[in-house]
Point group: C2
Chain length 328, copies 2
């Protein structure tokens, strides 16, 4: 299997990406094509030892900044690593694309060059999120801030395929994230979406309130890109703030400081449990190809996990299954 | 000062509410009118000792359920504690209304009977939320799931009045909660709202991403009722889930269990820091009267804190200040 990786994406590219790719080829049965500014990428690669021949470099002269407008990237930066990487998926022998770069540009380039799966109107970014027991699939976490109810319906279908084929959950249920549990709660959009899911999605289990998001109410959790993005960013911010407040409290109390040391493993376990990077990248679903978004702050480990997640999607033929499963 | 309290609101009414009211009159310079089914309320009161004459009971024959449709309440349950309580504010001698009952019914009754402050189109529910240092005012947390950009602009103005007069922050800044930091990010609604705030609100400081919600980026944080409600409910759910996962980890490890005991104070401090009930109720802003929503799961302490928060609003003449400050 050959995975294409955007060497120039993320806050610490290309160093972090290259380290992650090296970890990946050492641990996983995979070959990697790194796309980016060749001289920079090769320089980073020279710092590592790894099975030669498992990593190849493809030159892409341009780099996408986090501030670049997605449509401008497609129009004017055709030699950037995202556009070059996405286009490789149209050639035989390239199975998936992983990028920690500009999300909007990745979504736009994937949509424009790979085209949508029949029956899907707009791509969505999903994320496997931890539950108190097991995990759930949350979609959309930011690709589509202005969805129509039909898009949410399509996300529900794709999420179910993902949970069934990649995670191995039989007959996954789908819940709509909403600010009330009963039908008829929420915004006009939420009410319309509830109605549509109720009519057309056999495994729909109703609304899930955000305070019940981690207790296994549904295998798939669907929402607008705004709500999903608020969820993942707030979770990140809240855990960080809680850590800061806890540390500050501990520092005032020597006994608590010692207690903190004794609990270090448990606190790390908690961090690991809630840290999305542990679960690998965020799949962009709906396009004709396996595309995986990795967090902009991705560590080498997160890059490796995103590659692993992309491999699983390829192995389980998720795109083919979606083509069959999604109905309008 | 006399505060009207809905005796029948919340999961454990009237027992919990009555306990909270008794705590309040013992600690605070306040007189309370408890509105609800007289026999039940007096029975609960008889379990407590408190300064007689500081609590009076006003009979309201009907009770609003959490499932009741807000408009039906106004049309058909005119003798319920929420409608009776709200209407008392139109008489002299009653300064504020506190309820832990059905949010929609409270919003609808307050809007219908008290009418809006001039220049405000829709009420919003605000909440003082903890920051790593200090606090911020978040609005709307669920009164208005389908706002127009103008409503968000009005929330920004009212929030600034609240932060300045009640919390004592000079020249409070206002940030728009959005899924990207730069202008031009988010949904169509978000972009329009950004534009309007940028034009009309002198203290507008731009977008605040949800991962930066607790680090003091702005004194006032404005958003739609959907986003605000997701924020408070997700925070609750995430802290609960984190607690469960942490406890489970600790239980497997005797050393960590001991460490947990030694850290108990710090962990409680953290809980106290993030627990919204510590901060009192959530003010319903925009109507001609001080109305305070308390959490449906409110403890006696939360009821007492909501009463205290209502008193502060009255003391600082927040409604009068809003009438002067809000401009269209």
């Amino acid at each position: 299997m050959r995975i294409v990786v955007d060497a120039m994406g993320g806050d610490h590219a290309p160093a972090c990406v290259v380290s992650g790719v090296v970890e990946a080829v050492k641990e996983l049965p995979v070959e990697i094509t790194l796309v980016g500014i060749e001289a920079q990428v090769k320089k980073e690669l020279s710092r590592h030892s790894y099975p030669e021949g498992r990593i190849t470099v493809l030159h892409a002269a341009e780099v996408v900044d986090m501030e670049d407008n997605p449509l401008d990237v497609i129009r004017r930066k055709k030699n950037c690593s995202i556009v070059v990487g996405v286009n490789l998926l149209k050639q035989p022998g390239y199975d998936a694309f992983v990028s920690a770069g500009n999300t909007g540009a990745l979504v736009a380039a994937s949509t424009f060059y790979l085209r949508m799966i029949e029956g899907v109107d707009r791509p969505g970014i999903g994320l496997v999120i931890p539950q108190v027991s097991g995990c759930a699939f949350l979609i959309d976490v930011g690709a589509n801030p202005d969805p129509k109810p039909e898009h949410i319906y399509q996300y529900g279908q794709m999420a179910a395929v993902y949970m069934q084929s990649v995670i191995g959950v039989a007959n996954p249920t789908v819940g709509l994230i909403n600010i009330g549990e009963e039908a008829g709660k929420g915004s006009g959009f939420d009410k319309q979406t509830y109605q549509l899911l109720q009519e057309k999605l056999p495994n729909f289990v109703g609304n899930v309130e955000p305070n019940k998001l981690f207790v296994g109410k549904a295998d798939c959790l669907v929402c607008t890109g705004v709500v999903g993005n608020v969820i993942i960013k707030l979770s990140e911010g809240l855990m960080e703030a809680a850590g800061t407040v806890l540390k500050r409290g501990i520092m005032k109390d020597p006994l608590a400081m010692l207690g903190g040391l004794m609990m270090k493993g448990s606190l790390k376990g908690l961090k690991k449990h809630v840290d999305y990077s542990e679960y690998g990248g965020a799949p962009l679903l709906g396009v004709n190809g396996v595309v995986m978004k990795s967090h902009g702050r991705s560590s080498p480990k997160a890059i490796k996990n995103a590659i692993r997640a992309a491999m699983r999607e390829v192995e389980h033929k998720v795109i083919d299954r979606m083509r069959t499963a999604v109905v309008s």
